[in-house]
Symmetry: C2
Subunit: 300 residues, 2 copies
């Protein structure tokens, strides 16, 4: 993996106040054995995911009213993870920011996803494409209400992450708008509408639904990380597109039951487009986030 990515390596210009044990050093990794580099990248993602989970566990303790917070706690952690929160943090670090700056946004992204996941699996009478069976720990009414409670909690976490010492109010407000659009009627909700009306065998349809659902969430995650970490407007837009392709690949992997040739071709095309977005991020260490695309495609 490290060899395949060697043409993306540039000298890192990030000035870290203290050594970051999770961030692979681009200047030395090309000389290490491939297995070491892979282990380093994997531990980088694992450390981000562990930090986001720890942050969420502190943010959602099981407190009174228990009847409300116990299902909330359960459904937030029962939802399958996406790469959007980790991408948000990795991109923030990539553009020179600190992990803590993107933690609330990353947590909010998982909260939004878990609310959507909960509602998406509610047993409704008119779902034309029944979702795969999932275990329902609660009745539909509680799951509906819990999803409705998780969403505003995500925005509360975000709005409360404003720190006068960092003067980040404008960035946080911009991130709130980014997230409302990604999960709203022109983003994830649009994808869910399309899903209601389509047929899964059509590859164009799968690509389009994945673009609106997983694509927009990951695009948003990457853009938010870049905004919060202080990236340039050009970097924000390139990383947003990279995130879009990462999310679409993730979405396609979720849909593909077997190895459909057409979807594999879409996956290959998206991978090339994703890597293209990382080409001109001069002086940024893109290795950690480019591994997302490689790892995804290993499974197609």
């Amino acid at each position: 993996m490290a060899r395949a990515l060697s043409h993306f390596h540039g000298k890192s210009t990030l000035s870290l106040s203290k050594p970051n044990p999770y961030r692979p050093s681009s200047s030395s990794s090309t000389f290490r054995p491939m297995m070491v580099a892979m282990a380093q990248t994997i531990s980088y993602w694992a450390s981000i995911e562990a930090d986001v989970e720890a942050h969420l566990k502190t943010a959602i303790p099981i407190r009174r009213p228990v009847a409300v917070f116990e299902p909330m706690h359960h459904l937030v952690f029962a939802a399958p993870k996406t790469k959007a929160p980790a991408l948000c943090i990795a991109v923030c670090e990539l553009v020179g920011g600190d992990r803590a700056q993107a933690m609330a946004a990353a947590s909010a992204l998982h909260l939004m996803h878990s609310a959507a996941h909960t509602h998406e699996h509610l047993p409704l009478t008119d779902r034309p494409n029944p979702k795969p069976m999932v275990h329902h720990a609660y009745g539909p009414n509680i799951e509906l209400l819990t999803g409705d409670g998780i969403l505003p909690f995500g925005f509360e976490l975000l709005a409360r992450s404003v720190d006068p010492g960092q003067d980040n109010a404008k960035r946080v407000l911009r991130v709130i708008v980014e997230i409302t659009r990604a999960i709203g009627s022109q983003g994830m909700i649009h994808g869910q509408y399309q899903e209601l009306q389509g047929v899964q065998s059509n590859e164009w349809w799968v690509e389009n639904v994945c673009k609106k659902k997983e694509g927009e969430l990951h695009a948003c995650g990457a853009a938010c990380g870049a905004i919060l970490g202080g990236g340039s407007e050009e970097e924000i837009e390139k990383l947003r597109k990279f995130g879009l392709y990462v999310g679409m690949i993730e979405g396609i992997l979720n849909v593909v039951a077997g190895n459909k040739k057409g979807l594999m071709e879409i996956g290959d095309r998206l991978r090339v487009m994703a890597m293209k977005e990382l080409e001109n991020l001069n002086g940024r260490n893109v290795e950690p986030i480019s591994s997302l695309v490689e790892a995804s495609l290993c499974n197609v």
Copy 2:
């Protein structure tokens, strides 16, 4: 009504840059016939409601994707109105702010309420207390998704109301937190949980549910109006409590089918408590908002 409220009238200290045709003048209304004062108050509320509706109609045009925005438009305007948005604007004006400063928050409050109303009437298999029959213009799936789309749109409207010229980013962020709490797991959602588990014949239960549902939404509306209009912390808290009682009275009126003696007594008590909160708002013209409590009780 004007006579009953005359002890609340003080000389208005509000400095308006231009005459406000909607705001009753406290210095002259006590000398006018009661009918004129009532008509003036009614037209004040009607003008606020018309302004909020016009703002929402501009904010939610029926645009592409029509399959998404048409149900959104319909369900936002089909939801019965609450007084929370109008209270938000009236309080903003009461503490010396302009109507435009509270317009996004007032619109967001109606959006949050309409999302909750839509979800509250979804036909789920495990609702122990069936809601009164409502007309469903769409299937459950579309109504679920539309509610999920309305909520982030409300936060988007709010976050985008930041105006560098007004330097209002901190106030808007505070209002976002206020609204997330009012509609979230310790506010409206908590009330809906209680509603699932309770029995309507118990008056304590009715009062508690109304406190968490309509109470918190109106308390939030009043507090947001005071924050955005530049009220003092003391004014914000007094007006928040006033809003709480206004909302609880509205909630109780929604529950009462006949004239239940116990609920009438609760209504009377809340009315006294609401008016008490307006007593020490020195120099503020409280007549418009105090009429909310009087008007509510006329129907009990």
